[in-house]
Symmetry: C2
Subunit: 129 residues, 2 copies
DNA sequence: TACAAGTTTGAAACGATTACAAAGTTAAAA
DNA sequence: TTTTAACTTTGTAATCGTTTCAAACTTGTA
């Protein structure tokens, strides 16, 4: 559960935040939400911790949004959809057990796979936003 | 071929650059390379043009790299691999005709799909970089 | 209790991208 | 042609997510 990472108060709070909220938050969202209960929290700590968690494979760093990185505490294989209107990111099942293994040419090690969809979500489509 | 876009000198140069170079360049790479032959080219024009081409589905905007957007003039379905050491992005075949159609729940319109791998490329693995 | 290693913090720097207004270009009407 | 309006390019300045860095703080261990 702690992935060999020393569990400081801040790190635990950030990891718990990601386990609880499956909203694919950005650094800033996490920072602002946690600030309510941890008034001394620094944005840098959030950056550092997410980088640490990511490098220990405890969280995913989603690059679906070119504007900023989103984080995801759910590590089981699934895809993501981002609505280009409201920006929301939602989880999608990943049917096919994707081409992970037959190691592609020129590639020695595959460490991460992301399957990203984008378009318009139901809600935005109705509000033709 | 021109996707309903008025073909200014700059736009044609940028589109041709992407058709010729399958290196998934960033805005800055395109800007610098074209500057050699178009000394008055502005970085803003490159941004504007790529946004225009992208919105007309003439090019892909790859979000595989959280640092900056890369562009790809090849529109046939294929996946990408980015080496975390050298940063190079290479094309991979996309075997399985991916889950595009059975429209996922909560999604009204899928406009783009990206399948992104990352890890270490052969070359970097040898130079254990 | 003291020290060293590790962690957090906040300010400053960085760099990709966007906003904006002025100058330039193009196309079509008169 | 000439005029005019619409479109395009340009360069500067602003924005904002992220990184850098050093000082202050905390923790575990000697």
């Amino acid at each position: 559960m702690n992935h060999g990472i020393r569990p400081s108060v801040q790190r635990v709070a950030i990891m718990e935040y990601l386990m609880k909220h499956h909203t694919h938050p950005t650094v800033d969202t996490i920072y602002h939400d946690l600030l309510a209960t941890m008034p001394t929290l620094s944005r840098t700590t959030v950056y550092n911790t997410l980088e640490l968690l990511h490098s220990h494979n405890a969280v995913q760093a989603l690059t679906i949004d070119s504007r900023n990185v989103h984080y995801d505490g759910m590590m089981s294989p699934h895809a993501h959809f981002m609505c280009r209107c409201c920006g929301r990111i939602i989880d999608l099942p990943m049917h096919s057990d994707l081409p992970a293994n037959p190691l592609p040419q020129h590639v020695s090690r595959v460490e991460q796979i992301q399957l990203n969809y984008s378009g318009v979500c139901d809600e935005c489509n109705e509000n033709n936003c």
